[in-house]
Symmetry: C2
Subunit: 337 residues, 2 copies
Amino acid sequence: MSTAPARLSHSRVTITPALRAAVDRLDHRSRHQAAYHFGWITAGGAPTSADAGKAVRPALALLSAEAVGAPPEVALPGAVAVELVHNFSLVHDDLMDGDEQRRHRRTVWKLWGPSSAILTGDAMLALAQEVLLDTGLPTAAPAARLLARTTRHLIRGQVQDLSFEQRSHVTVEECIDMAAGKTGALLSASAAIGAVLAGAPETTVDALALYGDQIGVAFQLVDDVLGIWGDPAVTGKSVHSDLRSRKMSLPVSHALNQDGPLSDELATWLTTTDEPDEEELRRVAALIEGAGGRDWALAEAARRTALAEDALRGVELDAGARDELLALGRFVVDREV
Amino acid sequence: MSTAPARLSHSRVTITPALRAAVDRLDHRSRHQAAYHFGWITAGGAPTSADAGKAVRPALALLSAEAVGAPPEVALPGAVAVELVHNFSLVHDDLMDGDEQRRHRRTVWKLWGPSSAILTGDAMLALAQEVLLDTGLPTAAPAARLLARTTRHLIRGQVQDLSFEQRSHVTVEECIDMAAGKTGALLSASAAIGAVLAGAPETTVDALALYGDQIGVAFQLVDDVLGIWGDPAVTGKSVHSDLRSRKMSLPVSHALNQDGPLSDELATWLTTTDEPDEEELRRVAALIEGAGGRDWALAEAARRTALAEDALRGVELDAGARDELLALGRFVVDREV
């Protein structure tokens, strides 16, 4: 069994030629901008090998086929397709959020303008479906159907995220539902698509999908804890970064929905608009922790990770691939908290 | 045989319940904004029946099944899917072009902001694939594949359109290629998708696709002529509207690519940036006409319409449906020129 980082690196190497071949089919501008976004070329077009992300989704897709006893090649179009959908959403997200940098490089919209980012994202989304359907496999249609439905859920999560910014009250359930859409949906599809392409039975596919879904929400819970209490040296983000933007993250929504003075004080602070200083941020982080937001989020992440692992253990799977899926899930969720 | 306007109205009535059922599956915001865009509700959510466009694409899709002897219901998911892709592109286009009005109503981005327009468009594109693949028909996969490839070509056309605005010279071939992408690709897919869903032979599908493709380019040629010489009372646009924005339309590209003083004078004018007055616009329209731009565009539209009709006559089709397709094509292309 390989370690999770070795598996991620192996998956990246496995899918890159197929991903590049797919991107080569785009019009010249979308191709250039997608190749830049994936870290293969500089903005000017010179070859490079910039950080293109961890490729968790393609790794899940390839393992998903292996888990049902199929060769990983069966899942290759699925691995390429989920990576295209993930990156379509990043290109559009960066534009919508006004983010000028991703992985220490300028974003597509920042370099080439909003219209280019819209069209390049659109092209990547359409291409994802094309890659699956071009295989001509009898299982391509259910795989493409899964991906289309997943894209709808992903967008629903983004819409919720956008609407929460304009609301003063959000329930924990709504916040979890948003995480399930934004993060869980595509991880779920990634963990299932290889098995779908391999023609695995529905119960097996459902178990793999549940695994990805729960790992996705667990990841988001931990990510939100790190966004408030994470060590900048480990996270690469500024300290208290999510508090600075008053983000309606999962620990915040839990704390807000408790009774008591800490919750009230937090609610009042969220309506303020001044730029908070370090002392104020430390005070608010302590409020959230005092109202149980941190402990709840970590316990909920652990509970969901256990649910994810139970799902995998409840169906018959290739033992080696199952162990690698479990290790990959833990690697994604368990970071320095 | 019904007339083209009657057929369009009939198709609109046929597909609306299925289109509404599909849109109902979107998240609450995308659903609201799509329903507004389709003219079913006001911005505030009250029921209405605003102009939702001619629905040429769904009409072609339904006729495409009838033409190969299948009941039009077979094509219904295809008709809904092409209408969703068309309107995804309109929602994104309005944002990219900064257009504040469509069919005398405010555009989605103007009412709800750029992020909403991006997400609502994305959701409509994903939904188009889902509608096709949810049928579970064995022909859904080839139909979805056709739609994904078509979306790539549509985006390629939009990318070309965007890049032409930044270039001083564009060949007629490039301009035709852009029209084939922006307008021809989806009309081609619309005219073929019903036959694909009905499982028709490849030669029949190809003939229908060629028909839609040529009708699309012919439409664009005539539309470009109307954008310069059209009667505002008929077109609903201001006189010389395409000249005012110095659009690289098909008649302009033809005129520019001729030898002689008229072409040189036109090229010089295109580099100017002042707001032209009526007299100047009349002079430039005369330049383009003098260099043969108008006659060429109308002759080329007629040539392509004839090619389209030859394609339909070259394969075995239901005679009534073929006549309706021919009438619909002529209705789309032949307007007051």
